[in-house]
């Protein structure tokens, strides 16, 4: 168990640092080695990889602006601003504390009230509730942007780009113009790199000064007591992240993505309304989002324990592995196996270790500040190309990934001055949102 725990911890760090390699791919990749293991070890592996990758994913998103996991979009927005102003060590240490506190809070709550919470949430989580969550997060996202009308247009463009490919309602293709490489839709890697990170690089090149100039003496790991004090000042942001993260973690197909994004936009809107949102990097919004994604990671397995129900593709792979080991994941079998406390123990332990790693590892990554701007740009471009290739290879669609990326590059350049997070968010949620809206019609009006 301990050996597997450390393997999961290291794997989680690597997965977080390699954008494009998600939990689903990791589970498929590790399948041959995990086959036959008991359920507690497999679920522990799954959660530790997922939880740790949330920590390290935020570090890389903050420095390079690449949201490898969709749940890292807030980190790539606020983190990069904080990185430019030299406040990244403080941001990462406080976010790591927030994530750890969130992990502990939700673990303890679930250990004592798993059955009750699960039963209630299963009833509460109908199609209308899910639709409401999507509508609220979309409205908050648009409201929090500077140019609201442009925000609406970008949201619609994101939906339009996401519509390309297979229409799951009518079982037909749409907007493919009979091009085979578009039949499976625009690969996510191409979309996010061409329309989010490349525009970030264009803007980075165009900007003459990058905020406060950092000297070598400025690079230090944020102090332990100081970080806890800063986190304490933002404790209510973390608390809001825990509440929203635990609810959104139950949304099938989106879990941590919705957890972090909705928490971020709720916090950002709240702070904008109070005129306390910091344009040079808002720590509260980031802490809320980072707390929420770790909380959402754990609540996403609640349906698995209570009903044997996978709500993510990666959980379907997990069930398959558990059942290959001879354990039938039906109904409350996992809950009755009495493994939840053990799994939570390792999940909490991984949060402590991941917190230390992301806290102290940042001093090495901050050295990137000393590189000349040109080198910095080239590192970012090469990392983006690497990510694109990894995304294409792991999803078995390398050529369509490259082709879509090239086709979308000019669009990214044209739109570079706009708030492109809206476009990416819309593209990510659209497939699920489309089905929820269609089901809303079927349930109420047919």
């Amino acid at each position: 168990m301990w050996l597997l725990f450390f393997i999961a911890l290291i794997t989680g760090c690597v997965v977080g640092l390699l954008p494009g390699v998600g939990l689903l791919f990791t589970m498929i990749l590790f399948s041959p080695f995990l086959k036959g293991l008991p359920p507690e070890q497999l679920i522990m592996f799954y959660l530790v990889v997922g939880g740790t990758s949330q920590f390290t994913g935020s570090v890389i998103a903050s420095i390079f602006g690449i949201p490898g996991e969709n749940s890292s979009i807030p980190a790539s927005i606020e983190g990069t601003k904080l990185f430019k102003t030299g406040r990244l060590p403080e941001a990462l240490s406080t976010c790591a504390i927030g994530s750890m506190i969130g992990t502990f809070a939700i673990s303890i709550i679930l250990i004592f009230f798993l059955s009750y919470i699960g039963e209630q949430s299963a009833r509460f989580f109908n199609n209308t509730t899910q639709l409401l969550l999507f509508v609220v997060s979309s409205i908050l996202l648009i409201v929090s942007s500077k140019k609201k009308f442009i925000g609406i247009l970008l949201f619609l463009l994101g939906c339009l780009l996401s519509m390309v490919g297979f229409d799951q309602i009518n079982n037909t293709t749409r907007l493919t113009f009979d091009l085979v490489f578009l039949h499976s839709g625009i690969p996510f890697g191409s979309l996010v790199i061409a329309l989010f990170t490349m525009p970030y690089i264009y803007n980075y090149i165009e900007k003459k000064s990058e905020g406060k100039k950092i000297s070598q003496g400025d690079i230090k790991v944020a102090g332990f007591t100081e970080s806890w004090k800063i986190w304490w000042d933002h404790r209510w942001s973390s608390a809001r992240g825990i509440v929203l993260g635990s609810i959104c973690g139950l949304v099938p197909g989106l879990t941590t993505i919705l957890s972090s994004n909705l928490s971020y936009y709720v916090e950002k809107t709240y702070r904008l309304n109070k005129n306390i949102y910091k344009k040079t990097g808002d720590l509260s919004s980031l802490i809320s989002a980072e707390t929420a994604n770790n909380v959402g990671q754990l609540t996403s397995v609640v349906p698995l324990f209570l009903f044997g129900l996978p709500i993510l593709a990666s959980e379907a792979v997990l069930i398959n592995l558990i059942e290959k080991g001879g354990f039938k994941v039906a109904g409350t079998a996992l809950l009755q196996a009495d493994i939840f406390t053990t799994v939570c123990f390792f999940f909490m332990l991984s949060a402590i270790l991941a917190m230390i790693m992301s806290w102290h590892g940042v001093k090495y990554l901050m050295l990137l500040h000393y590189l000349p701007k040109k080198t910095h740009v080239w590192i970012m471009i090469l990392i983006n190309i690497f990510v694109l290739l990894v995304d294409g290879i792991v999803n078995y669609n390398l050529y369509s990934t490259i082709l879509c990326f090239i086709l979308l590059l000019p669009l990214g350049y044209i739109l570079r001055k706009n708030d492109l997070q809206i476009l990416i968010f819309a593209a990510v949620i659209y497939p699920t949102l489309e089905l929820i809206v269609f089901r809303f019609y079927q349930l109420n009006f047919q």
């Binding site: 297979f166 079982n171 293709t173 290959k324 109904g331 089905l435």
Partner: protein, 288 residues
């Protein structure tokens, strides 16, 4: 920095690197591409990947290619210049835009699995009475299941579309739908928790105490609905195909494969011919 130069560098990098990777990984000329008309995490991917692992033991140079959906898979499979495999299944083959991959005598390598469909409802209710009385009822169904099965039960019985069987169960537990039709594995999960009662199954025999639909719903027209998954080929020579058939028969008899089928309540019937598959398609009209 000059933008045109930057674009130029990015284009060069993104074109050259994938070519190098692809050339390194495809040196072998006898590569077989196994197209997957689904995505990782789904049943089609899972079965294809499972079969791939077994075929690799027979030293096939097999490469899995995720097409994502049946339209894309069909085009890639039919246009292939190299030996190609595809997992064909009723829902896909019945679709108008994917009808070119209905197994034929030549293309069919072997049927892999068959399964029956289960009708489930709320345990506290008289589900059969509700259906027979044609009350307004909502039935959850996967996007690739035949909607005609629901609409034929009565004009007040409406289908509600879900992305997969897991989402159907979540919708049922949340109270969105009154019934669901799903594969056997998913249906029995809720039955064991007393959260659902399964009251009919397709086919002509009872299974685990659930009576056949033809007995409890005598007017129902889709009694023979079977869920079939068959493997088809393109560009294999006659000898290569014969060898592949014999290997798949060996695989289907292996303990691993049998365990996999048992876990999912599938039947491993490799004797099912292309005629059975073609006949089964009449029930799988999914677009109406």
């Amino acid at each position: 920095m000059n933008y045109i130069k930057l674009f130029y560098y990015i284009l060069i990098l993104s074109i050259i690197l994938p070519n190098i990777i692809t050339n390194v990984s495809t040196k072998e000329s006898k590569k077989i591409v196994f197209y997957v008309a689904g995505n990782p995490g789904g049943t089609v991917f899972e079965i294809s990947n499972e079969l791939k692992q077994h075929l690799l033991k027979f030293n096939y140079d097999l490469h899995l290619e995720i097409s994502g959906n049946c339209i894309s898979a069909q085009k890639q499979f039919l246009d292939a210049k190299h030996p190609a495999l595809l997992l064909s299944f009723n829902a896909m083959a019945a679709h108008e835009e994917c009808s070119m991959i209905v197994p034929t005598k030549d293309s069919l390598v072997s049927n892999l699995f068959s399964a029956r469909l289960l009708f489930c409802g709320r345990p506290e209710k008289n589900n059969l009475q509700i259906i027979k009385s044609n009350q307004k009822t909502l039935v959850g169904l996967s996007a690739d299941y035949p909607k005609t099965m629901v609409t034929s039960l009565g004009n007040n019985i409406k289908s509600v579309t879900y992305q997969n069987s897991g989402a159907i169960l979540a919708g049922f537990l949340a109270g969105d739908i009154d019934f669901f039709i799903s594969n056997f594995s998913r249906g029995t999960q809720l039955m064991q928790q007393n959260k659902a009662t399964c009251f009919a199954i397709t086919g002509d025999k009872s299974f685990s105490g659930v009576p056949p639909a033809m007995q409890v719903l005598p007017e129902w027209k889709y009694n023979d609905t079977l869920w079939l998954k068959a493997i088809i080929q393109n560009n294999f020579s006659k000898e290569e195909k014969e060898l592949l058939i014999s290997h798949i028969q060996q695989i289907s008899k292996s303990q691993d494969w049998q365990d996999y089928a048992k876990k999912n309540n599938f039947v491993t019937d490799t004797a099912i011919g292309h005629e059975v598959f073609v006949n089964s398609l009449k029930n799988w009209k999914i677009s109406n």
